[in-house]
């Protein structure tokens, strides 16, 4: 994978907010990753681990109150953090597109679905005739498997089911053939029966446009099926990254090992599944040591974990791990999965 050209490079990105007394609370702490062309990168982590905030920051869509505290986001050689609002408008939707978690709220309730998708087309191809726009919208909807697209385009979001709405959101994101598609838990809000369909639609759409994808998820099953590479996030930091194969085979961070061990598998039917003890620390109380230290069950863990934050360092052929005892993780991983 890594022989392909780099599309997007995020380095030491930090995001946080200021409290009323001026203190800075860091939500995303020096996160970095690289996305190559046509690659699927999965950001994996619990709720609150900072995966969505990271991607919103990358796309310049942070909600009011959150700010980028440092780092860089480079897309095809351009640093995105310096863009003006006008430059952002030209880039977003055209080259970087996003599919959101909840299709029930992602569309404007008072506008026809077709006109919302049409807007994605006209925003980047101004001056296109009405007929041309309408037929483009029809094609886009047909591409994502919406039946009778011409008719459905004239209806409103509340007349669409959740799965159909997510298809419409994907059609909107794909309208201009973006190079990078960010999908933020695109199936979490949907029925289990629809989830596989939507992942199929996403895969087909990427096939057509050759887009790379960053998939935000906490579903490791989905990761195994979709990802080329994985970034595991914990408490606002990347704790392990590597190819999907390497990470599933031999995790080098105790958190990753715990996550994999907590997956249900047919091999161990009837056994008690491993659960990582405790809760992740809140952003305001992450301390100076390893944020996972209090929950870590690695036998090798020591005083060092409580005082010094481990840096991300190579731990395998494709892997990096932010653990002082990455070498000792293999035994632990074997033990908890068994």
């Amino acid at each position: 994978m890594s022989d392909r050209p780099v599309l997007l490079e995020v380095t030491d990105l930090s995001v946080g907010y200021r409290t009323e007394d001026g203190a800075v609370v860091t939500l995303v702490d020096r996160v970095g990753f690289t996305l190559h062309e046509r690659e699927v990168l999965c950001l994996v982590g619990e709720s609150g681990s900072g995966k969505s905030v990271t991607m919103l920051a990358v796309l310049g869509l942070l909600p009011d109150g959150l700010e980028i505290l440092g780092g860089s986001v480079v897309y095809r050689g351009r640093d995105l953090l310096d863009l003006t609002p006008r430059e952002w408008s030209a880039l977003r939707g055209a080259e970087l597109a996003m599919v959101f978690q909840d299709p029930m709220t992602a569309l404007n309730p008072v506008k026809r679905v077709g006109s919302q998708i049409a807007r994605a087309v006209t925003a980047h191809t101004p001056g296109l005739g009405r007929r041309a726009v309408a037929s483009r919208v029809e094609t886009l909807l047909a591409d994502v498997g919406v039946p009778e697209p011409a008719e459905r385009a004239r209806s409103y979001p509340h007349e669409w089911s959740g799965g159909m709405r997510q298809r419409a959101v994907i059609a909107m994101a794909m309208a201009n053939g973006p190079s990078v598609l960010v999908a933020d838990e695109p199936t979490t809000a949907l029925d289990v029966t629809i989830q596989a369909q939507i992942m199929r639609v996403l895969a087909d759409a990427r096939e057509r446009t050759e887009a790379a994808m960053i998939l935000i998820t906490h579903d490791l099953g989905l990761v195994a099926e979709t990802a080329d590479r994985i970034c595991i996030m914990y408490a606002g930091r990347v704790v392990e990254t590597g190819s999907v194969w390497d990470i599933f085979e031999h995790p080098t961070h105790p958190y990753t090992a715990g996550l994999l061990a907590s997956l249900l598998s047919s091999e161990h039917t009837g056994d008690r599944v491993y659960a990582i003890p405790g809760q992740p620390p809140s952003p305001a109380s992450r301390g100076t040591g390893c944020p996972f230290a209090s929950r870590c069950e690695l036998p090798a863990k020591s005083e060092l974990c409580l005082t010094t934050r481990p840096a991300l360092a190579p731990s395998g052929s494709s892997q990096s791990s932010a653990c002082h005892f990455a070498d000792a993780t293999a035994d632990f991983a074997a033990e908890v999965t068994a």
Binding site: P63, L91, F100
Partner: protein, 306 residues
């Protein structure tokens, strides 16, 4: 739709019936008008004769039934003061002036509030919001009649550029309309500001940004239609209070509208005029809220009229 219309019609008739009844009852409670209609030293016989002519010697329930019966035939009763003139025609004669002033004032107020709300939202300026809210609150703290007098003092007496009284051409409407508009401003500005802020954190706004829409485009094209819905609802509901305020403003500026007529009719116990006026006001209220319903359904496809 048919069900909705028939339900609305029944509601409207019930409202008007209630208004008519209350107006009738309160009027009679305030005493006999005959003594007020005649000169101060009028002999008893004259008062009795007038009471008889106006029907005040009949029992109250009979007067009420007579009045209702008349209404059903389109007879709203003749004015006590202007003998032989239908009370309704007096009211309707004044209606256009009131509608003009009310519509201009309210529209200007809402437009002003919308512009302020949009500018605050587009610039994201907290200072601007504080300033607008401050000015609006100070204005609201000044009663309409007093604010009107201040305007007269400045623009008519000192500067001499606007007429202070009556309805003499287009310039006459400026000051009374300004009084109304600035009085309504704060209510609608707060509403639109809150509403836009709430909408701006909705997921669909983020979707619009994500497909490449500019802030201007998102605020005007996506947020505003959603944010306007509560404004319409409040405009419909607060119309009653608004019409009450209109009476005061009309009297301050001697605007020849319904408000002036109603107030003088109350003073002179001209019951039929008061009652007809209230029927028209109730009608306006009903029509306005019907219009709000229709606009709501027009803007929000999730609303079905039934």
């Amino acid at each position: 739709m048919t069900r909705y219309l028939s339900r609305r019609l029944v509601q409207a008739l019930a409202t008007i019936f209630a208004v008519v009844t209350v107006a009738f009852a309160f009027g009679r409670l305030s005493g006999s008008p005959a003594a007020l209609l005649l000169t101060e030293n009028a002999p008893k016989s004259q008062i009795v004769a007038l009471n008889h002519r106006l029907g005040f010697d009949k029992p109250l329930w009979l007067q009420y039934v007579d009045y209702l019966g008349g209404l059903l035939h389109g007879d709203f009763g003749q004015s006590y003061r202007q003998v032989g003139v239908s009370s309704m025609s007096l009211v309707l004669e004044r209606l256009p002036a009131s509608l003009l002033l009310g519509a201009v004032g309210l529209t200007a107020g809402i437009l002003l509030a919308m512009v302020a709300g949009l500018v605050i939202q587009l610039t994201g300026s907290r200072g601007l919001r504080t300033t607008a809210l401050g000015i609006g609150a100070v204005r609201q703290a000044i009663p309409d009649f007093f604010f009107g007098l201040l305007l007269v003092l400045i623009f008519s007496v000192t500067l001499g550029i606007l007429p202070s009284l009556g309805n003499r051409g287009i310039t006459s409407v400026i000051m009374p309309a300004l009084t109304i508009a600035t009085g309504q401003f704060i209510l609608y500005m707060r509403l639109i500001d809150n509403s836009l802020t709430e909408q701006s954190s909705m997921d669909y706004a983020r979707t619009a940004y994500a497909r490449g829409d500019s802030r201007f485009r998102v605020v005007l094209g996506e947020l505003l239609p959603n944010a306007f819905l509560p404004v319409m609802t409040v405009a419909g509901i607060s119309l009653g209070g608004f019409l009450g305020g209109l009476v005061i403003v009309e009297n301050v500026f001697a605007w020849p509208g319904m408000g002036q007529l109603m107030l003088s009719a109350v003073y002179s116990r001209d019951f039929p005029v008061v009652q007809s006026g209230l029927i028209v006001v109730a009608g306006l209220f009903i029509v306005a809220n019907f219009a709000v319903d229709l606009c709501y359904a027009l803007i929000d496809p999730r609303v079905r009229l039934r």
